[in-house]
Symmetry: C2
Subunit: 333 residues, 2 copies
Amino acid sequence: MTNSSSDRPRRPGEFELIARYFAPLAAGSPGAVGLTDDAGFVGLPAGQEMVVTTDAVIEGVHFRRADPVEKIGAKALRVNLSDLAAKGADPVGYLMVLCLPAWTDESWIRQFVQGLAKDQELFQVTLLGGDTTAISGPLVISITALGAIPVGAAIHRHGAKPGDLVFVSGTVGDAACGLSLLQAENPALGASESTLIERYLLPEPRLSLGRRLRGVATAALDVSDGLLADLNHIAEVSRVRITVEAPRLPLSAGYIRQNGGHIGARAHAATAGDDYEIAFTAPPEDRETIARLAAETGIAISEIGRVETGMGVLLIDAKGQPVPVERLGYVHF
Amino acid sequence: MTNSSSDRPRRPGEFELIARYFAPLAAGSPGAVGLTDDAGFVGLPAGQEMVVTTDAVIEGVHFRRADPVEKIGAKALRVNLSDLAAKGADPVGYLMVLCLPAWTDESWIRQFVQGLAKDQELFQVTLLGGDTTAISGPLVISITALGAIPVGAAIHRHGAKPGDLVFVSGTVGDAACGLSLLQAENPALGASESTLIERYLLPEPRLSLGRRLRGVATAALDVSDGLLADLNHIAEVSRVRITVEAPRLPLSAGYIRQNGGHIGARAHAATAGDDYEIAFTAPPEDRETIARLAAETGIAISEIGRVETGMGVLLIDAKGQPVPVERLGYVHF
């Protein structure tokens, strides 16, 4: 109400924007009531509970204004779906708060919504409600994702036990490497570099893997701040120590081409963040099950370490010696 | 990741903040898993569905940095609970994204959390999850509230029918008047002015009324943008015309003392917004039921108009003549 109208953006008003761009995102869900209700409605099948998670992405912190617009919205959705994946949940829908600076014109919003529409199709979710508001500051996209899971089947962080092994899906370090390439603004990028950049712009929520880890993983989370920082969360709440073997960290060919595969590059990959892979613990007797899950989902899973009594997280080299790291992961503030 | 650390605020890091201030807000809910999980879990009793709504408040738009800190967080929660109230839902819990500028130090966060803790007690909700992140810009609080309601019992906006009457709870115009008083920065405020200011700072979600309107109201919403603007939403999606009689608008003694009770003051109250009262429609045969609900809840309910065939919203004076208004309510952008 104290908002200034001095630099009005060139775009339709709030309600026209909702009708033209956001209501179609809600069309697949009767519970969204066409976004006419300021609230959405979701049922749950018997025996299921709802999993809820929220994460915001902010211009200049989690994405750059110059990033492809279609991918900005998709990334905001995907980082939330990634949290559902790590709990083993099936996504149901999402709510979105958009704080729009004056520079976001109608064309920007159109592309933003196109990215979300593609991802809704891909991940079978619909918009259930939202709020758009003007901001004199950076663009903020705050998403709350809802998922469903059989009661008691969720994978928590607190279940890791001494003797468990530590696994991670995919490869680590790529997204951070992609961001560095983007920031260097080198126009002559090859296919290998583009793949790294794509991993920064559009992380892949590991939903098919997550739901198959129910009953297998003793603890899980998605790698957002950095593998070591995130495993440290598991170590803290499970009251265990987690040791990660640097030589076993899964690095992509593109990452190695940029940074090499030496111990420093491995320590960097383990602390860089934004990977959105699933890191999890499981007992050794499930090794074969996990290998089968990798084959079935087509998602590589690497065994990278072990859970022991003690506390904290430790990165070791091929000789078992601790590898010093400056910090475990991204520090928010 | 591109975030600058040049103006680091004087407060603990993210994880210490969560443990010290936010985890206690989640203590009452086993489904929040002590905020250690990046996701919360909510069950639903058989025969109920979940109602989800999200609204953000932004410094300089929805609140002022100078507002009492305890009330900033409480207001962010309450505007979301107000949406649940208007649907007839019982609140269950909430998720919160906090985008913190550098000026929010530990003392600010302590007071902010104290306000939320009080309201959690009052409205019987707990924090289920959240995300805190730094922002180079205004403070943003984005909340998603979850409620439960028997399947099919929700009150939508699209159910108003010609012949229905129009009602509103409490009084309108007070919050906008309170904001004007705050902005005038007159230190010599009496009790009457303080009441108006309080209505701006701390709106009252009409939860007890909302759940009693199930099966009675044909359409409902909470008044946030302005009574006429919000009734216009009902008119649009119900495909009806709503006529509001200015002389019947409920104005508080404090409002009349500030603005008078003349037609211009009434038009202002009907378009000022931030009231968070429930406006609803119901058939004439429910007049007595509604009078009883008012008595039972202790919340005044005024009959202010009628639903007719046609479209749009119209404010009329005592002679039935249209009262011109500059705009129906607050324009977000």
